[in-house]
């Protein structure tokens, strides 16, 4: 089994490595100090399993799982027990609490091996929802672009557009695609800040410059940078409710 260790603390990586070297048929293919390196390692090296810390700089364990969960099994390794329930909701193989014994790690690996053959389709959307505490809204969006990862704070998003099986996040003049439905994006974002103005558009209301009436019952939203977005009748009602 090919394993990658992901933890921002060197000592924490060291102990996992120490436990793993004694095991037969386990090969450590990468040690990653942050989530970006982890995504890159998954893309380039295709490991079977990630031993993944949760609290890491910039890109946390749940965000890594959301991005690469289709390709790799995950065992979470963390000092926090509060994420355990959410970890199993997103089909993590196991959840190790620091510090742990070599035996405990071995058991987790046996589980992972059992799962390798029978991997289920991976619910990326559920991961995204489970990564947030209940009631909290999305604060940043992690988007994978091959081996690279873009992290966009939601405050920088201008609008989100549906494009077939993808959604396109528009921010700072660029568009980044992510495989997700617009409905899922809508329910993850703060409804006081982001409004579904149209079947295919979610608008950050801070970017709204003015609303124009261009046909009966039909409006267009003009953004600060001049972009025009269509506003449906129900979208207009939602917009009015939020702006009031």
């Amino acid at each position: 089994m090919r394993v990658a260790i992901v933890d921002d603390e060197e000592l924490a990586r060291k102990i996992v490595r120490e436990y793993l070297v004694d095991l037969e048929d386990v090969e450590i293919v990468a040690e990653c100090a942050n989530g970006f390196e982890a995504v890159k390692a998954v893309t380039d090296l295709k490991p079977d399993l990630l031993l993944l810390d949760i609290q890491m700089p910039r890109l946390d364990g749940f965000e890594v799982l959301e991005l690469v969960g289709r390709e790799v099994s995950v065992i979470f390794v963390t000092a926090y027990d509060k994420y355990a329930l959410r970890a199993f909701e997103v089909h993590a193989v196991d959840y190790l609490l620091k510090p742990f014994t070599p035996d405990r790690l071995r058991k987790a690996l046996i589980r992972a091996r059992g799962r390798l053959d029978s991997r289920q389709p991976f619910p990326a959307t559920e991961v995204a929802a489970a990564a947030r505490p209940p009631g909290a809204h999305l604060e940043r969006v992690a988007i994978r672009d091959g081996a690279n990862v873009h992290v966009i704070p939601v405050s920088k998003i201008d609008y989100v557009e549906a494009q077939d099986d993808y959604v396109c996040f528009r921010a700072e003049g660029k568009g980044l695609l992510k495989q997700q439905t617009l409905g899922d994006v809508e329910s993850a974002l703060d409804p006081a800040q982001f409004v579904r103005v149209h079947r295919s558009y979610i608008l950050n209301i801070d970017r709204l410059a003015k609303l124009e009436l261009y046909a009966k019952d039909s409006h267009a939203a003009i953004l600060r940078d001049g972009t025009r977005l269509p506003v449906s009748r129900s979208g207009y009602a939602r917009l009015n409710a939020v702006l009031k």
Partner: protein, 351 residues
């Protein structure tokens, strides 16, 4: 006790009744004393009325008059009704005495004194009402006093609880994990880490139970905490200290810096990939002492927030302990997060 207070009143009323010269004092006493006993209970019942119509400072404006009218009206009605009923019962009583002891005409002689008795009844009722209001006010202020005392005790308890809750258990779990990792590769380092951890725990338990400690001890504890975190975070954490020996003897509340350094690690250094410098400074500032904790901070929007609880606690503690003589300033500038405390430099405990 209450009933004996009515004895002088009964005596007085007997005098009133004999005044007309038509009733002898013995007869008068026979009528008045049971009547007073009865009236004492009626007046006591007015307490419920006072409770139902509390004295209020009317809000400025139109409501004042209606409030007053309601108050006076209800009590006046109650006074007139009770006094009238009382006098009527007195008449029945006088008739009973008259027929039982065969004293002819006592009831009709009583009737001549009825207006006088009625007025006394009203006056007594009003006095009782005033007395009741006095009692109620007294009770309210006593309750407020005990409530204030209770709040003081609660605030103190909250303060102690805050102190105890300040050590984040995940700090312990992460440290134990570091020790576990060091055991094989660097046994001496593992031992050093155990000692650091023991020092820190012992220090925070010991210091936490005191009211004030010298700044030098507080600094030592903060540095001990940072040394432990440096084992965990490695080269990502650099520490800079600049402590003026002048202010080492100043007395400060124990663990007042702990939330600041913890904040500097969990929200400053730990969420950054490259880490940075946490700096501790302390210097004299006039009659006080200025303590500054600074740490690097990621672009605000890109980090998940959650900071601020610890800092809010510090601010509240300072407000509680120094009553406005201490302050905490927080600012963020050019990637640095800075918390500054200004405390009076006490050399002995304030009371």
């Amino acid at each position: 006790m209450y009933v004996t207070a009515w004895l002088p009143i009964a005596t007085l009323l007997t005098q009133v009744l004999t005044r007309g010269g038509t009733i002898g004092w013995r007869e008068a006493a026979a009528i008045v004393f049971p009547m007073c006993l009865l009236y004492s209970f009626i007046c006591q019942a007015s307490w419920y009325l006072c409770r139902a119509v509390p004295l209020r400072i009317a809000p400025p404006g139109q409501r004042f008059e209606s409030e007053t009218v309601r108050l006076i009206g209800s009590h006046a009605t109650a006074a007139v009704v009770s006094a009238a009923a009382w006098v009527a019962i007195g008449w029945v009583w006088a008739s009973i005495i008259g027929s039982t002891f065969n004293i002819s005409g006592i009831a009709s002689r009583y009737v001549t004194q009825m207006p006088m008795l009625f007025i006394s009844g009203v006056v007594l009722f009003v006095i009782a009402v005033a007395f009741n209001y006095l009692l109620i006010t007294f009770e309210v202020s006593r309750k407020a006093e005990s409530k204030a005392l209770e709040l003081q005790v609660l605030a103190r308890e909250a303060e102690l609880k805050a102190l105890r809750a300040q050590i984040d258990p995940h700090f312990l779990f992460n440290s134990l994990n570091s020790i576990s990792a060091l055991v094989m590769a660097d046994p001496a380092g593992a031992r050093r880490m155990c000692v650091l951890l023991a020092d820190f725990l012992r220090g925070s338990l010991k210091l936490g139970s005191k009211e004030r400690i010298p700044l030098v001890e507080e600094m030592r504890l903060a540095e001990c905490y940072l040394d432990i975190e440096r084992v965990r975070l490695g080269a990502r954490l650099k520490i800079q200290r600049d402590i003026d020996p002048e202010c080492e003897a100043c007395l400060v509340p124990p663990l007042i810096m702990q939330p600041l350094v913890e904040n500097a690690i969990t929200h400053g250094v730990a969420p950054t990939i490259d880490g940075g410098v946490v700096s501790l400074q302390a210097e004299r500032n006039g009659a006080g002492v200025r303590i500054v904790v600074e740490n690097p901070v990621e672009d605000e929007a890109a980090t998940k927030n959650g900071a601020g609880v610890g800092l809010k606690n510090v601010k509240m503690r300072l407000a509680n302990l120094y009553d406005g003589d201490a302050r905490m300033d927080v600012n963020q500038n050019a990637g640095r997060f800075r918390v500054e405390l200004q405390l009076p430099c006490d050399r002995e405990l304030r009371t």
